[in-house]
């Protein structure tokens, strides 16, 4: 039963989510915010979308879209909070 819990897909997804999010939070303040946030979103999206059994070429669009989303989000969050709300981000 315990083995079943750990190998179940939903558990796998839950553990991945928690690990990525906690790691991001732990690195805040130690790595540049924009860089870290871009990396976090990029890794998060690809963790759940990228299929290792398929070739990179077939999934290049996914990778590109993840990179675009990551760059736009981190830039927008930094811009809004730093310039509009005058918050010194970590």
């Amino acid at each position: 039963m315990v083995k079943g819990f750990f190998t179940h897909e939903s558990t796998n997804r839950m553990v991945k989510t928690v690990l990525i999010c906690v790691l991001y939070s732990l690195l805040l303040g130690h790595v540049n915010f924009v860089l870290l946030t871009t990396l976090f979103i990029f890794v998060f999206v690809l963790t759940f979308e990228y299929l290792f059994r398929e070739s990179f070429r077939a999934q290049a669009r996914k990778v590109l879209m993840a990179a675009v989303l990551a760059i736009i989000t981190s830039g927008a969050v930094y811009g809004v909070f730093f310039y509009l709300f005058l918050v010194n981000l970590p």
Binding site: E9, S10, T11, R13, M14, K16, T17, V18, C21, V22, Y24, S25, L28, G29, T37, F40, I41, F44, V45, T47, F48, E49, A66, L69, T73, S74, V77, V80, F81, F85, L86, V87, N88, L89, P90
Partner: protein, 507 residues
Amino acid sequence: MIGLKMLFDAVIGIFNPRSIFDALWATQLGIIIGMLPGLTATMGVALLTTLTFNMAPNNAILILICMYIGAIYGGSRSAILLNIPGTPANAATTVDGYPLALKGEAGRAIGIATTGSFLGSLIGMLALAIFTPLIGSVALSFQSFEFFWFSIFGIVICGNLTAPKDPLKGWIAGFLGLFVAMIGMEGIHAYVRFSFGSTELSGGISLIPAMVGAFGFAEIITVMRFTKFEVVKTKIGRVMPKWRDVFKYWKTIIRSGLVGTFIGAIPGVGEDIAAWVSYDLAKRSAPPERRETFGKGNEEGLLAAETGNNACVPGAIIPVLTLAIPGSAPAAVLLGAMLIHGIRPGPLILVEFPTFIYEVVAMVLLATIAMYVLGLSMVRSLVKVLLIPRQKLMPVIFVLCVVGSYALQARLFDVGVMIVFGLLGFILREMEYPMAPMVLGIILGDILDKNLRRALVLSNGSLVPFFTRPICLGIFLVTLFVIVNRTVWFKQFVGAIKGMFARKAEG
């Protein structure tokens, strides 16, 4: 008359271009957040609090109220089209909303839900305008003894209603919240408690990061666990409902509106309970032949659920303004936001900010109108929002959770608080412990602690006034009844008495 004049002035004052613009974008954002399964009204209000803390108090509170009303309504969209409630408040909406969509009547269902939400909000708003000054003037006579019992009553009733299967879990969650509130400097002598030498902990656990964690991060983990949702493939036809179709259920509308408002005013009991109770009452009062159609696409059931949950929103604001005790989880964040903006809700609000109550009523009115207008327009284009993959949306939401928690006091410790409460919230939810009593406990902890100690100072350490003052005795007995009522031996005792009377009647 003075009250009416203040209300009139507030309504005239709120209809200015800036407020209308703020109401429109905040309500639309609320509808989108409510629509997306996993993003709750509490999370939306908490995240927006962090974005509005530089604004003028009235603008900020208007935006938060619009977000609250928009999100509670927006959840009906995914309940109808996905069979997944966008927020817990819309769980009852799925029962009849989704079958209507399956029949190809998604547009009609959305129209009925929108009208129900609009009318429910209006009924709640009227109650807010009438009862807030009344309760406020009564609350002026409350002292520390009464506030202590109100806090205990809030935790017990909230635990009881949010964990109907096992109220003990609700009470445990509530008292866990109270314990969390004891961390840090206490409110009378600033003595540091339970900080274990940590400077960060001596400042206490802030409400907003804790709530962003419990309702934001915990939701993100929950949402990411499941595989993708299926949007019902149906053509959305005419959305604008025929008023005749809606008003033939006028009794249901009024009943659900009043029930929703009343449930909203009970501390910590949120929109989900209001919707279920309204739905259940509508089902029970329907004629037997129509009762069978509930759950199979009955428009009266859908109307009752949506009227009830949106009526709960203004209802939940009543205790926020009069007693500084939130009626629901999003109202708890609203209370926190008011405190951040220098408004002190509670019995003294009638003395310190007499016009504010009516300004809030006007804000609810503006938000309700914005919700109705936006709810009936752009329906087809907004459905596309439901198709955004979660793995793309959730990291963006998490970044906002992190930055929102950090931005309030610019300390990384609050990000840690958010993470810890997110994980705790997720685990507790998996074990079927409700979150609302815990959040209520965090808010009421300070009120309870200060008032207990202040009361003990006033009574020279005697506990007797806690049981001899009339209001205290009343609240104590009701609280005791709520607890005893759920015990097995009480049920056996009631059963035995009923049996005895039945035997006597037969004999």
